[in-house]
């Protein structure tokens, strides 16, 4: 039950790059991915910046060798999951018990929106192929079939913590000897549904977001997908390149305070971080870097910071929110940030928190504002907190 689970491969697509290499280059060069809406069609196009993947659906479909009628959510997922599997290069994969655990928040909503406009006028209208992939699980199956993974397929949706949960559910399937290899993470494409939903909550910044800044005004929505390939110790031993890190700790807790707001003291965040630390057997001083949930909303950053202060104070690790590059990619964020955490360990780097000008006055710590290179990064804590109080933390450790 406590056997180590290794990260054998990573794959990512986001507003800052179409693969892991491009994302890493952008992280190093401090290039954020937000901008004016290019692909999403919305009346808010001129007022709300978003962090879009810089490929249209036709181009994505072409890269994947597929017709351009499937959900963007599935295509983003295929791009990143395929890269992760390729990166892992597991010998004899077909003879191993392999699973695909993905996460998303609104399934094929990008297509459903098209369908719904016609359906509302006449419920006999609207192309059925546009609503076929509405279900979250259907997106996962399109990708599993594309990858040829069949032994275990499932989908998790706990709002913004979805893909952190899929990663550690995958790790537990390995620890329980149900699977040998799991491709785990999450995906979400920008949709009008989520854009308007977050807009009604008045938590979208009309400028580029400023996580953990005293004058932060909200989040920018982003899109993308991020996956890790988890393998058992036995499979890890067969790899040509030894894995650079392992999943050392994880915990899921519920804030149980409000459907959309975090408790002022960050109870759920605190419990998730504390639980992950306890499972890893590490001390707070062993954590070299926290990849913050750091959405840039008033509520999240004060709750998360308060929980960090309670758990770590006064011995604060370095920290930053990479959402200042990618925007908040919702169901993909835990997966993308797991990839960035693994990169931090592998590349011995700590990525900066962009656009941070005025540190929050409530806290004695300040997230990193410039890139740090050639630094020991042995243990990274990655936070993902969401609506419904669903809070999860993961710890990645150098092998």
């Amino acid at each position: 039950m406590n056997a180590p689970v290794f990260i054998a491969g990573v794959g990512a697509i986001s507003a800052i790059g179409n693969n892991v290499g491009e994302c890493l280059a952008a992280l190093e060069q401090e290039q954020a991915g937000m901008g004016e809406m290019m692909y999403l069609q919305s009346v808010h196009g001129k007022t709300l910046p978003v962090a879009e993947v810089k490929l249209n659906n036709e181009k994505l479909a072409q890269l994947l060798g597929l017709p351009a009628v499937i959900s963007r959510t599935a295509m983003l997922s295929m791009m990143a999951a395929k890269e992760a599997l390729h990166n892992a290069a597991i010998p004899g994969l077909t003879s191993l018990r392999t699973g695909f655990i993905s996460a998303n928040t609104v399934g094929g909503m990008d297509r459903t929106e098209k369908f719904f406009a016609e359906f509302l006028l006449d419920n006999k209208k609207g192309k059925l192929r546009d609503v076929l992939h509405h279900e979250c699980g259907y997106i996962t199956e399109l990708v599993a079939d594309y990858l040829g993974i069949r032994n275990y397929v499932s989908t998790i949706s706990t709002a913004c913590s979805s893909s952190a949960n899929s990663i550690f559910y995958g790790a537990r399937l390995i620890r329980n000897d149900i699977l040998d290899v799991v491709v785990a993470g999450g995906t979400d494409a920008l949709t009008k549904f989520t854009l308007n939903g977050f807009n009604t909550l008045m938590i979208l910044d009309q400028e580029f977001c400023k996580p953990f800044d005293e004058n932060r005004k909200g989040l920018n929505l982003g899109e993308g997908a991020g996956y890790v390939v988890l393998v058992s110790e036995r499979v890890a031993a067969t790899l040509q390149h030894a894995p650079a890190c392992k999943l050392a700790g994880y915990c899921n807790a519920n804030d149980a305070y409000h459907q959309t707001a975090s408790s002022p003291d960050g109870t759920g965040s605190y419990l998730a971080m504390k639980g992950a630390l306890e499972r890893s057997g590490l001390e707070i001083t062993d954590i070299d870097y926290i990849n913050l949930h750091g959405t840039g909303t008033q509520n999240n950053d004060i709750a998360e910071g308060t929980a960090i202060k309670r758990l770590f104070g006064p011995l604060y690790p370095k920290m930053s929110s990479t959402k200042s590059y990618t925007g908040h990619t919702l169901g993909a964020s835990g997966g993308l940030e797991a990839v960035f955490s693994a990169l931090s360990i592998r590349e011995r780097m700590i990525f900066p928190n962009l656009r941070l000008q005025t540190p929050m006055k409530d806290f004695p710590f300040i997230p990193e504002t410039t890139l740090i290179k050639n630094v020991h990064v042995n243990n990274v804590l990655s936070n993902s907190f969401g609506f419904g109080g669903n809070c999860s933390s993961l710890i990645f450790s150098k092998t």
């Binding site: 406009a117 509302l120 076929l132 199956e141 308007n196 519920n254 149980a256 419904g388």
Partner: protein, 354 residues
């Protein structure tokens, strides 16, 4: 390690809510859509909260609360929910307003309640439960994934009990869309005669069933869950039969050791062929009953089957009204639930008497 079903709560198209034993008379529904018999929520949920909650949230919360009350557990150690469709009604409301009002002047409530984790989150919120909370949204595997998660949590020794459930609703919109996909019968039928006519399509269903699973026996448990497996898109009936045999072999069981099979037949001639074929091979000579005539077809319907199996092994008898034509005197101690959803999602669950 053994896993016990300590208590249940079930809102379904039958009179299952608030009934300690299996209701004697099945509720008859005409048409191709079974709606839940909804309880008086006031006994379980604060009136102020009820007004704000959509139907699926109320059904889910009520089933969860009844389950916890029966177990005498105030706050479970973990909450795991399976829902394929999530909160369809609120999703539809927000989508409709967004289209009609061209993305202007929208209210947040429907969006807030549209996320797939709303039911699980509302239960946690009402109970102030800070424990593990997860939500699986994988079509015909949603409940099975939730159940596997719950069983692993107990085996890992992380928790002593887990509240686990399956929740899905049918709305006017989802029924209209799924009808266009040809899922449901064209002619209205009585659910009680679902299996007597050979035609394409099934009847839509819905429900919310929760279970409190525990790692220690109480003196009043319903059943034990011995094993669970799922398999995805088997190539043919041969592979399906092999999966069944492998599952039983892993439990060191011969088919003859199974007292009863609960099958996921739903009245659709194409889908039901799978069950007929297995009854001629691996399920040969084992008594069986069906359940989707009672709850209809929906992605988390297996939760209803688990409720049924738990009640049957607790009493040892198959209740009248289920159309059981096997040996009525025989004590039922071991039940195999076998379900498939569109021949894509297959699941096997072994439930036995304590």
């Amino acid at each position: 390690m053994k896993i016990y079903i300590r208590s249940t709560g079930n809102v379904s198209p039958q009179n299952t809510f608030g009934h300690p034993a299996f209701p004697a008379e099945p509720v008859e529904h005409f048409g191709n859509r079974l709606k839940c018999v909804e309880p008086d929520y006031k006994t379980f949920i604060d009136v102020k909260l009820i007004r704000r909650m959509s139907r699926i949230i109320k059904m889910g919360v009520a089933a969860a609360m009844e389950c916890l009350q029966e177990a005498g557990v105030a706050v479970p150690d973990a909450i795991v929910t399976g829902t394929a469709y999530g909160c369809l009604d609120d999703t539809g409301i927000f989508l409709t307003k967004m289209v009609e009002q061209q993305e202007e002047l929208l209210a947040p409530t429907a969006f807030i309640q549209s996320t797939h984790n709303t039911v699980g989150a509302q239960i946690a919120l009402m109970l102030r439960c800070n424990g593990y909370n997860n939500v699986f949204v994988h079509r015909g595997f949603s409940f099975e994934s939730a159940l596997l998660d719950a069983m692993m949590l107990l085996k890992e020794g992380e928790v002593n009990n887990v509240l686990v459930g399956g929740v899905d609703e049918t709305t006017n919109t989802s029924h209209a869309i799924l009808s266009r996909f040809g899922l449901y019968k064209k002619q209205p039928v009585s659910n009680l005669n679902l299996f007597s006519e050979a035609s394409k399509g099934t009847i839509a269903g819905e429900g919310a069933a929760f279970f409190l699973l525990a790692n220690e026996a109480s003196h009043n448990d319903y059943a034990q869950i011995d094993a669970l497996t799922t398999f995805y898109k088997p190539a043919n009936i041969k592979e399906t039969a092999e999966q069944v045999s492998a599952f039983l072999a892993a439990q060191s069981l011969s088919p003859a050791a199974i007292d009863l099979i609960i099958t996921g037949r739903n009245g659709d001639t194409t889908g039901d062929k799978v069950y007929r074929q297995l009854e001629q091979s691996v399920f040969n000579n084992i008594a069986s009953v069906n359940y989707k005539n009672l709850c209809g077809e929906y992605p988390t319907a297996v939760a209803f089957a688990v409720w049924m199996a738990a009640n049957i092994v607790k009493s040892g008898k198959v209740p009248a009204g289920l159309g059981f034509d096997g040996d009525k005197e025989k004590q039922i101690k071991k039940i195999l639930i076998y379900n498939h959803s569109q021949n894509i999602h297959h699941s096997l669950l072994l439930i036995s008497a304590c």
